[in-house]
């Protein structure tokens, strides 16, 4: 059997089934499954209801933290929850009466808790403290990578960014390392791994600690892995994408690889303060219109597949044209002879009507996007100016004006974070913004600024104003400071629209007219996502020497080879010193790359990687713990 890479990646589902099966089959009795609602959608990608039934699950319930579920004497309750301390504690509290029961039957465990993706080792301690040890059995289940779409994998761990970057809590790292280990078992070990960032290198460390792998059954698929931390490339998340899939995610709620298109509310409209929204759309105009969903999978939705990584403006007109063409096609029916019609209705019509409903769904979605994004061009210009540090004072006042006249809870803050990341915002400036922000969204949001400064998205607020700094900022001296972002972006040539760049502004303009010659098209020709640039460097490099000259200046990049951990520079000099050029891993013999982003990937990054892959004739798989838009990233700071 010919086993393509995509097939193999879909095979993660089989492994997940096998894992879940071994848990369920180890539990005897009449089983009932109680699921945390949040788990249902991703679990759909793993198993079906009939499968669960086959494994002895008699009923499935949604878990409700407010109401405990009664259990009859012969039933076994299996709870499945995310491994979040709060959720676990609530569940333990709910199960507390069990501990008080007289004469508990210890031999038969009637309660089980399955934690996804891993059962933190201190959960056992908490179980013991709650007096439930021996009565409740803990398990863990990691579904590993879920195959969303060609070239797109997700671990579906929605709280990971918050945990790692805002709380600095590394609890979820081991389960990720285990998933990566499984990937190595299935797809083989790559000849090199390039990691960028703290968490990434920690992950590689853990991968090593987890031990040796059994001999692989298949030849390796990937020539290289690229593992990078989200905070090494914030702009790729914070900038507003210009491509179809990216904008869909900006506007609509995403749940496990599908988006929910609701005419009455969406991600953007719910961010605004209702009182100042202007004219309210008349409710009840179309109460019958049920929210529908679009699956972001190119095999099940060919319209999405054709358009996912194209520029939105282009897609929107393509969809309009398609609707028209379909209308004409259906009109043909009127001019047909009877027997012709029979044939047509039997063969072509069902397909056409199905296609039509799909196209209409996309039409509806793209119209809502247009309506919601408002003055998109203005936003893009603003973002471009932020990237290129074009008249900083004006940028701040424009963001402030946006806050006042079109305040969006996450998106306005996102612009400020982008400004800080690219140019730097002074604490005093943040203070003024934060004051206005709290006035608009409430005093309780004060903590958000501290949270975001933890992740380096905003400057930390300082206790007392120090006179010297104040003086300095008032002096009209030209500043030549560069932020870390600017330095790295210049070294790696990520900014494509800045005046002094090699390609200059003119080339980016030509891209805007539809000619795509550079992966920066995902951001309207202003910025190349870091992962895409690193991928193209890895694929185009011919020797370690070349890699070292390209990446040597970047702090924090690490190469993980069979021989151990090193840096691009050290690797090159080591090869030179030993004089064994044939130990060089470059050029990569296997042209496939695996990209893993710790802390959420954006569709712009995926699209840019897809573009690089097509350009170089390689395959690039992008995986992450979740797929998110910039507003989702900012929203994580609000869960205090």
């Amino acid at each position: 059997m010919d086993l393509t890479l995509d097939k193999k990646l879909q095979g993660f589902q089989l492994v997940a089934q096998e894992k879940l099966c071994s848990i369920l089959c180890s539990i005897p009795g009449k089983k009932e499954l109680i699921l945390e609602p949040d788990l249902i959608k991703p679990l759909e990608h793993v198993v079906t209801a009939s499968w669960l039934k086959l494994k002895g699950i008699q009923r499935i319930y949604k878990h409700d933290a407010a109401q405990p579920l009664p259990r009859s004497a012969d039933q076994v309750h299996i709870y499945m929850i995310r491994s979040v301390l709060g959720t676990f504690q609530t569940l333990l509290k709910q199960l507390q009466p069990v501990a008080l029961e007289e004469m508990p039957d210890i031999a038969m465990k009637m309660y089980h808790i399955v934690c996804v993706p891993s059962c933190y080792s201190y959960f056992q301690t908490l179980l013991e403290q709650a007096g439930l040890y021996g009565l409740v059995q803990l398990h863990h289940f990691n579904w590993d990578f879920i195959y969303f779409d060609q070239g797109v994998l997700s671990l579906e761990l929605p709280n990971l960014y918050e945990c790692l970057y805002l709380q600095r809590n590394t609890s979820p790292l081991p389960s990720m390392a285990q998933s990566l280990r499984l990937l190595q078992m299935i797809c083989g070990q790559p000849s090199l791994i390039l990691s960028f960032g703290n968490h990434s290198s920690q992950l590689m460390q853990m991968l090593k600690t987890l031990g040796k792998l059994p001999a692989p059954t298949n030849p390796p698929d990937y020539g290289g892995w690229l593992v990078i931390d989200r905070d090494k490339d914030y702009p790729a998340s914070l900038l507003t994408p210009a491509i179809y899939a990216g904008l869909l995610l900006e506007v609509f709620e995403q749940r496990s690889g599908e988006i929910l298109v609701d005419n009455s509310k969406n991600k953007i409209s719910s961010q605004r303060v209702e009182l100042l929204q202007g004219k309210k759309p008349k409710t009840g105009v179309n109460p019958a219109s049920k929210p529908c969903s679009i699956r972001l999978n190119s095999t099940s939705d060919e319209i999405y597949g054709d358009n996912r990584y194209k520029r939105f403006a282009q897609v929107s007109s393509l969809i309009h044209a398609q609707v028209k063409a379909l209308g004409l096609e259906l009109q043909k029916l009127n001019d047909m002879q009877l027997d012709e019609m029979h044939d047509y209705v039997a063969r072509k019509l069902p397909k056409l009507t199905e296609l039509k409903s799909k196209v209409l769904r996309h039409l509806n979605a793209s119209e809502i996007v247009i309506q919601m994004m408002g003055n998109f061009r203005k936003l893009q210009t603003l973002e471009e100016d932020i990237l290129n540090n074009d008249s900083r004072k004006r940028l701040l006042s424009e963001i402030d004006e946006l806050l006042t006249t079109d305040g969006q809870r996450y998106n306005t803050l996102r612009l400020l974070c982008l400004l800080h990341h690219c140019v730097g915002v002074a604490p005093e400036e943040l203070q003024i913004f934060a004051r206005n922000y709290c006035n608009l969204f409430g005093h309780q949001e004060l903590g958000v600024f501290q949270q975001l400064s933890q992740a380096g998205l905003l400057p930390p607020l300082v206790a007392e104003k120090k006179a010297p700094t104040k003086l300095l900022s008032n002096l009209p001296l030209p500043k030549f400071q560069q932020t870390e972002f600017q330095a790295n972006a210049n070294r790696l040539k990520l900014l494509t629209s800045s005046g002094d760049g090699q390609d200059g502004g003119s080339s980016s303009r030509s891209q805007a007219s539809g000619l795509q010659s550079c992966p920066s098209f995902v951001f309207n020709g202003t910025y190349i996502p870091l992962v895409a640039q690193l991928c193209s460097i890895l694929l185009k490099t011919n020797s370690a020497e070349e890699l070292s000259s390209k990446l040597g200046m970047i702090e924090g990049l690490q190469l993980h080879l069979d021989s151990g951990r090193t840096t691009p520079k050290a690797f090159a000099s080591q090869l030179k010193a030993n004089g064994v050029a044939d130990h060089d891993v470059f050029p990569l013999r296997l042209r496939n790359l695996f990209v893993f982003i710790v802390g959420g990937a954006s569709y712009a990054e995926i699209a840019a990687c897809d573009f690089v892959a097509k350009l170089t004739g390689a395959q690039i798989t992008v995986a992450s713990d979740s797929l998110m838009a910039g507003s989702d990233l900012i929203a994580t700071a609000f869960n205090h």
Binding site: M1, L3, G11, L14, V15, E18, K19, S22, H45, T48, A49, S50, K53, I60, Y61, K62, Q67, P70, L85, G86, S118, Y120, S121, T125, L138, H139, H140, Q167, R168, N169, S171, P174, Q178, M185, Q202, Q205, M206, T209, P214, A215, T217, V273, L276, C292, S293, S300, E401, T405, L430, R435, C438, N439, L440, Q444, L446, F449, Q450, L461, V462, A463
Partner: protein
């Protein structure tokens, strides 16, 4: 309560009655829950179930038996269960090894690896302080993870506070993990205490502030806020100016809401300052003069809460336009220049005029109001475009006159309904434009 569960109606209205992935299944499914069920959701969901059929892939082709066994073995939480079918000698060996590791020399690496995999590992034999520290450091060096918290909890149990805090003090990363654990577990008191102990007063203050706002009723909210403000006024630790301002503002607003119950009726629980300002605008009756004495006057409230001029103007603009009290709009945007108080009032706006005009248009303001705002625009080209967009004919005429577009004016005049007010306005503009033909500009040109 228990009786309720017997009645059938309970299941029909309960939010967590059984649902099924598959609507053909015989699992009893309440009708209103069909929408919650996974398959009933949409046809799209159905597609995902065909995955396994389409896949046509066997697990053996991607993973060797050995590897699969390893994966499943790593998934098991408890290693201590003896495998079945082992010979007595091997069993003895296994038991001996287990005994050794439990009672005597603790094995650092093995314990760390087990904890990393989420397996249960006994920690009790790590008795000496040095062993405890080594365990923690080994885990931290391996990249941390949840095992760090497990070990910290163990240390907290087996060491006195001085020692425990000493260990945290030397390991800032471990401290972060522990703080995050306390935060997630909802143990607010210990969290704040630890923050203060380690000199992080700002974060502690923030946590206390959040807790104060989260308390249920208004009076206890006020009490807690008052305590917090007082505590930080006297604590002698530097406070971030932003925090201080917001703490005070929150307290002030709480006091205002308590005093003025009329305002509270217009608002939801825990309103934002701008929402309160909106309510203040609703109850304000005198827009002609700025009242700085009454605490619920919009100007006074905005000053008290340090609401920026732009925010104040935008909120008032929206409220007045919604209330269709367009006459008040002029008062909102009037400023007496401070450097010359005797001078007549001037029009002043703190944000882009275009946005104001568009919003007013959206709220269906009459065209006289639109014209008033459009007349303040300096750039005639922009004004023309905007006026055309909001269909304000008079402003279009003004702009065209400003641009001296005679032909366009003539064309516009022809399209307007006969003898309408707009037509007269247009005609006047044309006339004045024509009469001006022989004045300054042209003469100058000839000279």
């Amino acid at each position: 309560m228990d009786l309720q569960f017997d009645s059938e109606s309970y299941w029909n209205r309960s939010s967590r009655a059984a649902f099924s992935f598959d609507d053909e299944d015989e699992v009893d499914l309440a009708p209103d829950l069909a929408s919650n069920g996974i398959l009933a959701d949409d046809t799209i969901s159905e597609a995902s179930f065909n995955n396994s059929v389409v896949l046509n892939l066997s697990i053996k082709s991607i993973l060797s038996e050995e590897a699969l066994k390893l994966v499943l073995q790593e998934q098991a939480l408890d290693d201590r269960v003896l495998p079945k079918g082992v010979s007595p000698e091997e069993e003895l060996k296994l038991l001996r090894r287990q005994l050794q590791s439990t009672l005597y020399s603790p094995n650092l690496e093995a314990t760390a690896q087990k904890l990393l995999q989420g397996k249960t590992a006994p920690l009790e034999m790590f008795k000496s302080l040095q062993e405890k520290q080594q365990l923690l450091d080994t885990l931290m060096a391996q990249g941390g993870g949840h095992a760090v918290i497990t070990v910290l909890l163990f240390l907290k149990r087996t060491l006195n506070t001085t020692q425990f805090h000493g260990i945290l003090r030397e390991r800032p990363k471990a401290l972060e993990e522990y703080l995050s654990y306390l935060k997630e577990s909802g143990d607010l008191a210990s969290h704040i205490e630890l923050l203060q102990l380690f000199g992080r007063h700002q974060e502690a203050a923030l946590k206390q502030f959040e807790a104060a706002l989260a308390s249920g009723d208004a009076s206890s909210r006020k009490k807690h806020l008052q305590l917090l403000v007082n505590a930080y006024a006297t604590a002698g630790v530097g406070v971030i100016p932003l925090y201080e301002q917001v703490f005070h503002a929150a307290l002030k607003m709480q006091q205002l809401m308590e005093k003025d119950s009329g305002l509270g009726k217009l608002l939801r629980d825990q309103p934002t300052p701008v929402e309160v300002l909106y309510a203040c605008c609703q109850v304000n009756s005198n827009w002609k003069e700025q009242d700085m004495l009454k605490p619920v006057s919009p100007q006074r409230f905005a000053a008290d809460q340090q609401i920026s001029a732009a925010q104040y103007e935008w909120t008032a603009l929206n409220e007045r336009a919604q209330a269709q009290a367009y006459a008040d709009l002029e008062c909102i945007f009037e400023r007496v220049p401070s450097w010359h108080p005797l001078k007549t009032k001037q029009f002043h706006i703190s944000f882009d005029l275009t946005l104001a005009v568009l919003r007013l248009y959206e709220l269906q303001a009459p065209s006289t109001v639109l014209q008033l705002f459009l007349s303040k625009m300096g750039n005639s080209v922009e004004k023309l475009a905007l006026a055309q967009r909001v269909k304000c004919i008079k402003a279009v005429v003004d702009a065209m006159a400003g641009l001296k577009q005679q032909q366009e004016l003539q064309q516009l005049k022809d399209t307007l309904p006969d003898r309408s007010e707009e037509q007269f306005y247009c005609e006047n503009a044309l006339k004045s434009l024509q009469s001006k033909r022989w004045t300054t500009d042209n003469i100058k040109l000839k000279l």
